[in-house]
Amino acid sequence: MVTNASTTAGTRKITIEPVTRVEGHGKVTLHLDEKNNVSQARLHIVEFRGFERFIQGRPYWEVPVIVQRLCGICPVSHHLAAAKAMDRIVGGENLTPTAEKMRRLMHYGQMFQSHALHFFHLVSPDLLFGFDADPAVRNVIGVAAKFPDLAVQGVMMRKFGQEIIKATAGKKIHGTGAIPGGVNKNLSVQERDFFLKDMEQMLAWARSALSIAKDYTAEHLAELKDFGSFESNHLSLVRKDGAMDLYHGVLRAVDAKGERVLNDVDYQEYAKHIAEEVRDWSYMKFPFMKSVGPEKGWYRVGPLARLNTADFIDTPEAEAARKEFKAVTGGKPNNITMAYHWARMIECLHSAEKINDLLHDKDLQGTDLVTKGERREEAVGLIEAPRGTLFHHYRVNKQDQVTMANLIVSTTNNNEPMNRAVQKVAQDCISGKPEVTEGLLNRIEVAIRAYDPCLSCATHAMGRMPLDVEIHDCEGKVVDRRQRD
């Protein structure tokens, strides 16, 4: 689609709605002045969810099953974050080995399938065909037609991860595996063997996907270096020894130079360190670190942030890949937005290695599934979801009912960074151009897609998406409109 920005008067407003090939529904508005310079660029999230309110009054053991309904793509993240909080409510946070490893297997299965889905189906059209390619080809169907092997790999990797989720949670989507203080099943030998037969293939495909992401980034580094990029803080959980840990750990944040801003703090006290700012033009809040303030305290989460915060990765192939990744920036934090894809595929390989390790661990066949201890009335559960750090915070009364819930989802953490990326691309690629082409507008979406945002957590669409771009004059009158159904 091409927009011809012929106007009759003054400033203009361009709306990209919906943003395509991302999870959920969002829109971008660009305000252009008389000389076509971008005066304002914003990503609007038009989602609204009432979970924090309507789980009030429900019994606490329902929460991990209810809140995962926020999302159909990574419900495991919400399921596990809520379960981790409820572990503490029942005093069962020191899980049995079987319970913790079953949950980790569930989580790595999710990470593997989510990263594969994003890379192969949502992002690969941009990387394989170019940002300016015909949108009729630049989609998953185009990938399937020209690169059928890659399309199949994406499907099969996603299937493998989904089957792992089913074996650990009971269902591929919205299971019940994690319960307060543990899990409700172990992994049978038959289930284990079902996965082991495909494990080598999955590792091989994860290596291959990593190579594609790495080679693409290396080959295009000159142009990607500044594309939607900016300096920022980076935040994630890390294991106490500094290793990347996607399931549990302490909160660490570093600034753009690598200096610690949050030094491995206990996430039960996240509210001492993190606050959320409300802005009148968005339904989504803007989190920031209190010690730095709202102006400069915002941070990125997700694969790029995790590669920047962790000291090392505890699986050999992903660790070797991490070292290559770090070498690009001389060991300092990587602030290149498009490097998210490379980081994501390192995590995909890491998840495959972790799954392989766990499948060879006999603890998964253990029968000690649940533990309990002293009851608490308030707890926080954090996890590294595919898209970044996910916060769940609950209070539960003596009658077992939830009285307060606060969720900060990964995409909310990345709200400010995504807006910065949109502003950067708009300034660099669109500002001052006489004509705003579809390819230029797609660059804005490319920058957003790097964050793998889950905008409404409940809708999921991919491939050839409807796109509606309107150009308004300074009085708000629509002067041009192009649609793709």
Binding site: P59, W61, E62, G177, I179, Q401
Partner: protein, 235 residues
Amino acid sequence: MSATFTFTIDGKEIKGQPGQTIMEAAEAAGVYIPRLCYSKDLRPHGSCRVCTCMVNGRPQAACTQPAAEGMVVENNTDELQAIRRDLVEMLFVEGNHFCPFCEKSGNCELQAMAYRLGITAPKFPYLWPDRSVDASHPEVFIDRNRCILCGRCVNASKDADGKNVFQFVGRGEHKRVAVNAEANLADTDLKGTDRAVAVCPVGAILVKHKGYATPVGRRSYDQKPIGSEIESKRK
């Protein structure tokens, strides 16, 4: 002891014992008549009407109607199944039933009945009633959003537990299960092990802290539809 007698259900000859209802005789013969309020070992309530059969050409509740020599009973007909679907659909829209997160899912007789009858989505408008929960009791949680007014808890508390904890109050759409106390369930002598708790067919009366302990795949109706256990007795 009086001699057995015979009658037919859908043309199949059934042997009945004196004093048996149609439901009891059918069950003994391995014939499943759909039901919701009926529970073996409790007095039949006859309120849900899901077990309605045509008995000698007239509609009767199989759980309350005594079987008799020569009766001609129609059970599994298209017309009766359509009526049963409507009855079950009405139960869904009259309450607030959210199967996706209800811990009774997979063990719920209402949900299992809907699956057995082939209900995918109700055709009636949802009423979204405003109903209360009672979390006061240390062992038992009441969620009236899911109550289908089957009366099992009322009967079981009185007859099996000898306590009279539950009773119906109100009429029509205002009818609900109340507890026999000044205020809340915690003020009664109910125990989590009481029969009145165990007999609830839906997720309205729940033993606390149990939640989703049974994994998906091992719940009552994950593998076979409701009624299979009766039909498996058929010779």
